[in-house]
């Protein structure tokens, strides 16, 4: 057998050696130390689970992104798509008698099919945390603050956390005609203001705010501006973000940008949602938010908010 025969690895699989390996272990150590100091207990869930667990947590759209295989008894297994599903399962079963709040964290690989995606890996080294059983601004602030500490712990200095709230656009979207709604969401997602304007030209009331609200991005002043243009139903979400902003220190605020244009998590998130961006990485290096419906799907309804950072993207960023 020639060496070239054993050199072949599946697309999206990579060996990490030397500094690439050392850097990742250093990032894991630094972040787990921050998490432990914050009172978060580490869990090491299995690398594979019944497929159903990931779909239960993430919704039907994760199915095509699972790396699946069959167990001996014919049941469908999947490699760990995310840690949140396994942690929700543990919180609802093994930890059922624990009194909330639960502070749980993890670090390890997740595995994802990336159909048609040339430049995307199929396994990602993550670190993350889940705060379960508490709701309100204080718990969102705790999680956001933890995210900022994690970002600093991995050596990011010039980073930006874009924070939104699913309640900002939901009331206006609900009033868009049902057959037009998928298109409107797509245009908002793509920041395609031209198509939005044409489709909503004659619209008034709440729907009209979709021409401006999704494009709001900035510091506190942008939020205040959003409050002036937003429909009544969005007031709660914007007040929540204003309260969150007020609770941050000036140093923390320097990293936070409010961004009301994110519609991708509308089915999953129930409150704040955020992404972490840093120069030299072409996509978000971290993401999180509140998903108060998640634990109910595992039979133990309680609020939850969480974050996950992509340590590979952080280790490989170009600047």
């Amino acid at each position: 057998m020639s060496p070239s025969h054993v050199a072949l690895v599946p697309p999206g699989a990579v060996d990490l050696v030397g500094d690439a390996a050392r850097r990742r272990r250093a990032l894991q150590r630094a972040t787990l130390a921050v998490l432990e100091a914050g009172g978060f207990e580490e869990l090491i869930p299995p690398t594979f689970e019944y497929e159903e667990i990931f779909v239960r947590a993430g919704g039907p759209e994760v199915v095509e992104r699972l790396i699946r295989f069959l167990d001996l008894d014919g049941r469908s297994l999947a490699l760990r798509y995310d840690f949140t599903a396994s942690i929700a399962r543990v919180a609802a079963t093994a930890f059922a008698s624990r009194t909330p709040p639960l502070r749980l964290c993890y670090s390890g690989k997740v595995f994802r099919q990336e159909p048609d995606r040339g430049a995307r890996p199929r396994e990602i080294l993550q670190v993350g945390a889940e705060l379960m059983g508490v709701t309100g601004v204080a718990s969102d602030v705790e999680l956001l603050r933890l995210t900022l500490r994690l970002a600093e712990a991995v050596g990011l200095t010039d980073f930006q956390v874009n924070v939104g709230h699913v309640g900002a656009l939901a009331p206006a979207l609900a009033e868009v005609a049902e057959d037009l709604r998928p298109d409107v969401r797509r245009w908002i997602d793509r920041k395609d203001r031209g198509s939005l304007s044409r489709a909503l030209e004659g619209a008034n009331g709440a729907v009209r705010t979709l021409l401006s609200l999704p494009f709001v991005m900035g510091r506190r002043a942008a939020l205040e501006e959003a409050c002036r243009v937003a429909p009544d139903g969005a007031g709660g979400a914007l007040d929540h973000l204003l309260a969150l902003d007020a609770a941050l220190t000036p140093a923390e605020r320097a990293h936070v940008v409010y961004d009301l244009g994110e519609v991708r998590g509308l089915e999953y998130y129930t409150g704040i949602q955020f992404e972490v961006f840093v120069a030299g990485a072409g996509r978000a290096v971290g993401a999180g938010g509140r998903y108060d419906d998640l634990m109910g799907r595992f039979g133990r309804p309680m609020p939850a908010v969480g974050v996950a950072l992509d340590l590979d993207a952080i280790a490989e960023r170009t600047t």
Binding site: D116, G118, A119, Q160, N162, R190, K191, D192, R193, G194, S195, M217, G218, V257, D259, E275, F277, V278, A279, A281, G282, R283, A284
Partner: protein, 206 residues
């Protein structure tokens, strides 16, 4: 002000895109000949010339902040990029065409039509939506001669004036998609360099 790198498709769209940027006051400040990175008259903007089909991956990955590509390329590849502005040039349509003397919309004898195209995904989706079975053959060029050479029964290809179809004895049967040039942007770049993106949009907007 942050620097923006804009990926442009070499070929037909390149000059049209430059013309559009020229109207916005941004011109090339170097020879486009062999260089990959071309500075512009605006110190915060540089251009990158790549193969037309590669614009989306450069932008999605963040290697370029923005790019100019066609709706056809975007819908075929479905890259995860922002599409903040239609640029109003490069209008054409993605159409199904078949030989003028061939039966349409069915082939005789229950034969499953073979379709040659550079757009396998859009072609499959189009016929699946109509509940029609087709056999899609992906090729990389000279699509319009595929029926003449016996490679396929029909083709799916971009049509501008229709002259190329006519010259090859083909008739446009059905339009799948109307396409034009679109400015696309990397998601992370748009968030990190918002002011620069907004400034460029302001310059380009009609």
């Amino acid at each position: 002000m942050s620097t923006l790198r804009i990926a442009l498709a070499k070929g037909r769209m390149f000059d049209l895109a430059l013309e559009r940027f020229m109207k916005a006051g941004i011109t090339l400040a170097g020879d486009a000949g062999r260089k990959l990175l071309i500075p512009s008259s605006d110190p915060t903007i540089e251009f990158l010339a790549v193969k037309p089909g590669d614009v989306p991956i450069y932008v999605e990955s963040g290697a370029a902040d923005l790019g100019v590509t066609g709706t056809d390329v975007l819908r075929e590849g479905n890259p995860d990029v922002l599409e903040p502005l239609e640029l109003g040039f490069g209008h054409c349509r993605l159409s199904v065409a078949s030989p003028a003397d061939a039966a349409w919309p069915q082939l005789p004898g229950g034969i499953t039509p073979k379709i040659a195209t550079k757009y396998p995904r859009l072609t499959r989706e189009h016929f699946a939506a109509q509940g029609r079975a087709v056999d899609v053959i992906r090729i990389n060029g000279s699509v319009e001669v595929a029926p003449l050479l016996g490679l396929s029964h029909w083709i799916v290809d971009l049509v501008d004036t229709g002259h190329t179809l006519e010259a090859n004895g083909l008739v446009e049967r059905d339009v799948i998609l109307r396409s034009s040039a679109v400015l696309v942007a990397n998601r992370a770049s748009q968030k990190l360099k918002l002011d620069a993106h907004l400034r460029l949009l302001g310059l380009l907007e009609p």
